[in-house]
């Protein structure tokens, strides 16, 4: 088994590299090869246990280096420092924006934001998530509780920034509404769908500021990404803006399959501010873990309370941030995420 990832910006191929199939892929196929028909006969409610989709690739996710989760837009400065106070003001004043993102940097080489991500995890066939280190974000909230007591990092970029998600997901429990909004803006990492409603403010080292209204999210417009950052597979759909889609390569299945997904400008700009994207991961359903958790198939996808458990199948790591942007003449790279700058990810898998 092998794979290759292509990344296209418009008509330009900007990356084309091999991926790494991790050990979990072999485990999934061995699970599939040894599933016994007696499972469905034992309990009629388990009749869907023999559905092939329980073992197929069902999601893609995006990751960055573990250091990114305590810096960039995750970090609002010292506890209750100036930036978190500004966030509180915006939340309390009920401004039009759902949240504000702040990044603080020196504009040395233009004004595109270059996230701090440290050294992202090196590719390793034993990986079970995109970043194995601690990716929990530690930040004191207005109530003086810590973000980490509500959400432990899962090794990838999450989708808790939209208020419709962070206020309603069953993952964040016990926090008040103000805390929840600050938790969402602290954890990130993708803007809401629909009308753009989130602003990013760059505070440069000379004290000047630059504001940018972030475009809407392709994922959240299509409701394809759950709170924990998994973009769900869309069966019977060919538009990669709808989520993860698949098609056979060539005429027959002898050449493998190609998964594809599209990130919109808003997704790219927002992910850039939260640490960029250095990892891509393809995930299968982990039926064994799902059953152990008391969930029986079929597993319907849910943004707010996803019953699906995933197992990493393949990973692609980059030594550059694929959300990286550049200044364009006098236009700042911080704001220069044009609507035609979608990234199309094509992930080809061959099984022999």
């Amino acid at each position: 088994m092998k794979g290759e990832v292509e990344i296209w910006r418009g008509d330009s191929l900007i990356h084309k590299e091999s991926n790494m199939i991790v050990d979990g892929a072999g485990v999934i196929i061995a699970d599939m090869m040894t599933a016994t028909p007696s499972l469905s006969g034992y309990d009629p409610t388990l009749s869907s246990v023999l559905d092939p989709s329980n073992y197929c690739i069902q999601a893609i996710s995006f990751g960055t280096g573990k250091d990114a989760f305590t810096s960039n837009a995750h970090n609002t400065g010292e506890p209750l420092g100036i930036l978190i106070q500004q966030r509180q003001v915006y939340v309390w004043d009920n401004k039009q924006e759902e949240a504000l993102l702040f990044v603080n940097f020196s504009a040395i080489d233009g004004s595109a934001y270059i996230p701090e991500a440290g050294f992202p995890e090196a590719p390793n066939p034993q990986l079970t998530r995109l970043e194995m280190g601690d990716t929990t974000t530690y930040q004191i909230l207005p109530s003086e509780a810590n973000v980490s007591s509500y959400f432990v990092g899962n090794g990838q970029l999450v989708n808790l920034l939209p208020s419709s998600i962070v206020l309603n997901t069953t993952e964040i429990t016990g926090a008040n509404e103000v805390d929840k909004k600050v938790i969402g803006s602290t954890l990130g990492c993708f803007p809401p769908g629909g009308v753009p409603s989130i602003s990013a403010i760059a505070i440069f080292s000379d004290g000047s500021e630059l504001s940018s209204l972030i475009g809407s999210s392709t994922f959240n417009s299509a409701s394809s990404m759950d709170y924990s950052g998994f973009v769900s597979f869309q069966k019977g759909v060919s538009d990669p803006a709808s989520g993860l889609v698949v098609a056979p390569i060539g005429f027959s299945y002898l050449s493998g399959v190609e998964y594809s997904v599209e990130l919109g400008p808003g997704d790219l700009q927002c992910a850039n501010l939260y640490g960029g994207i250095y990892h891509l991961g393809l995930w299968c359903l982990d039926l064994q873990q799902s059953l152990r958790s008391g969930n029986i198939p079929p597993y319907s996808f849910s943004i707010l309370n996803n019953p699906r458990k995933y197992r990493l199948f393949a990973i692609k790591s980059f030594n550059v941030d694929i959300t990286k942007n550049e200044d364009n003449g006098s236009t700042s790279g911080f704001t220069n995420y044009a609507s035609d700058q979608n990234l199309l990810i094509k992930w080809k898998l061959k099984f022999l």
Binding site: M1, K2, E17, S18, N19, M20, I21, V22, D23, A25, G26, V27, I29, A30, M32, M33, T34, A35, T36, P37, S38, L50, D51, P52, S53, N54, Y55, C56, I57, A122, P123, P125, F233, K235, V246, A247, P248, F251, S252, Y253, L254, S255, G256, V257, S317, F318, N319, L349, K350, F351, L352
Partner: protein
């Protein structure tokens, strides 16, 4: 970080000759060849393009054939879809044997071939032997495949293939060859059984 990493699917076959006295003799202990049908079956599986009645059982390795004309004339290459000389009738597999035989049309290239007999692999003979390893234990008992002939001459077992059950989800069930191995000639008689212990690492 341009890591070019593949995860190769490979297999290992051990053939054991077992006499009714209990005496055992290992005839072969070698790697097999995984053929393009494995790529076809897994690509079909991961394409999500499943037929309405497809279940996970359709994508499992659940059948095998033995033959008497190995190795193939074009060599043992990954592009083969069939055995060179698979046994041609249910009676050749042995009417008194414990094998469950059915006649099916295998997938050959982009079409299906003529119907041939296939032996089923019972689920009790499919064992998980590691996180990503599965062992198939195929037993050709004392009553199976005995005293075979071709053109009035003795015929020797010398090839075997594993098949995925029915990746297209056809109502008529069309298996596809996924692993193949040739071995030295074995003239099968009722004096012994043959045990094929075949491990596939995914």
């Amino acid at each position: 970080m341009n890591f070019i990493e593949e995860k190769s699917i490979n297999g290992h076959l051990t053939i054991i000759k077992k006499y009714s006295s209990g005496k055992e003799e290992i005839l072969l202990d070698e790697n097999n060849i995984i053929v393009s049908g494995m790529g076809f079956a897994l690509s079909k599986f991961f394409s999500h393009n499943h037929a309405t009645n497809n279940t996970i059982l359709d994508y499992q390795i659940g059948k095998f054939q033995v033959g008497v004309s190995g190795p193939p004339a074009g060599g043992v290459v990954s592009s083969i879809f069939e055995l060179s000389g698979a046994l041609s009738s249910i009676s050749e597999y042995g009417l008194g044997s414990n094998l469950v035989i059915e006649s099916l049309q295998p997938i050959i290239g982009t079409g299906v071939g003529a119907a041939k007999p296939f032996a089923n692999i019972p689920h009790s003979k499919i064992t998980r032997v590691g996180d990503s390893s599965v062992r198939y234990t195929l037993v050709i008992d004392e009553e199976a495949c005995n005293n075979l002939t071709r053109d009035s001459s003795d015929a020797y077992l010398n090839e075997i293939g594993l098949f995925v059950n029915n990746p297209l989800g056809s109502a008529s069930e069309n298996p596809i060859l996924v692993a193949y191995k040739t071995f030295s000639n074995i003239y099968k008689t009722s004096d012994f059984s043959l045990i094929f212990r075949w491990t596939i690492n995914f």
